[in-house]
Symmetry: C2
Subunit: 194 residues, 2 copies
Amino acid sequence: MPWVKDFDVDLAVDKAMKVFWAKGYEATSISDLTDAMEIKKGSLYNAFGSKNALFNRVLLKYDRENRRAAIKQLEAMEDPLVAIRTLFDALIAESEADRERKGCLLVNTALDLPNHSEEVQALVTSALSEFEAFFVRLVERAQARKQVPADLDAREAAKSLLSQVVGLRVLARGVFDSESLRAIGNQALARITA
Amino acid sequence: MPWVKDFDVDLAVDKAMKVFWAKGYEATSISDLTDAMEIKKGSLYNAFGSKNALFNRVLLKYDRENRRAAIKQLEAMEDPLVAIRTLFDALIAESEADRERKGCLLVNTALDLPNHSEEVQALVTSALSEFEAFFVRLVERAQARKQVPADLDAREAAKSLLSQVVGLRVLARGVFDSESLRAIGNQALARITA
DNA sequence: GAATGTCTTGAACGGTCAGTCTAGACTTGC
DNA sequence: GCAAGTCTAGACTGACCGTTCAAGACATTC
């Protein structure tokens, strides 16, 4: 058997992620990608097939390493309200640290959903659905612990929380300062406890 | 004096708006624009100067005809809570009628803010700030009418409402169905009245 | 009806786009 | 050390990018 790849595929996907994340799918050219990934065009097409296929792979990795990882950690917390607070605080801290104002790759892609391939649409939709389901579980657990009024509709509240997270992610890309982002978190939490 | 323009500039801007709105700034080519506007490249550059300048003009028109117009109408309503309800209902109805799932041009641009020109950034930021100020006025009026608890922080609530509107606009582009969008509206209103 | 001056037209600009292909470099199995 | 077979390098494809420009069309003014 022959020669194996001499570049780290996973590392290359990671470098591609940063480009797509900051510039968006359309505005990212193959040259941008090969420059960042430090490979040549031939290698990119040999390894990934197409720009769209590479984006799919990037999105999958992003989802696994960010959304899934975060949910797993938050779900392990005992107090569901603390978990929600921690989530908002983490998003705000992330946006403060993000000099490029890249936002969230999933949300960025969600806004442009109709212009993406079906696979990408499916990936984003299911990722956000899982996020919503995660919120439902948290709210129901909080209700069981009597931290949240029993008459709150957990499913509606979960959709609202997802919407707040999405709104925060969008506004963090240049419209709101940190203080305003904190207001979103405060109000989101107040809504379900009051 | 010479010949005057023989195409309707305002109508052409309107046609350009639809293209930018559906496809996004980057994904829209000059050919896409000239096809839709039914003018030639030369005329486009003669009349507008550049793709970015045309986009600026489109955004300004969109803001005037949509955001400003809506705020003016809602602000004339006597009951501020009805105004908020009406706003959410209108957004949901608009998204249901929008087969192309174009969403909101201002929100679409806001998510991509760091990749736009300074003029565009300023335009979007001020438009959303005015939206926020509008929500502050509504909440304060509702408090004066004892429809909303006096201890609610009107400024925070306004930021939260803006975030909900933005979240709704994003999720309406393919992630949420109408019922889920209605949940966002319900919860947003419930938050400030409870 | 001729001069004026902005309009439209359409070709052309250099550059870049996503993607392909060939030639050669290289590791592996024998 | 040789054959097998996948990798990389980078030139190349034709199409399209945003933008410019020269030439001609035309309504207006005198």
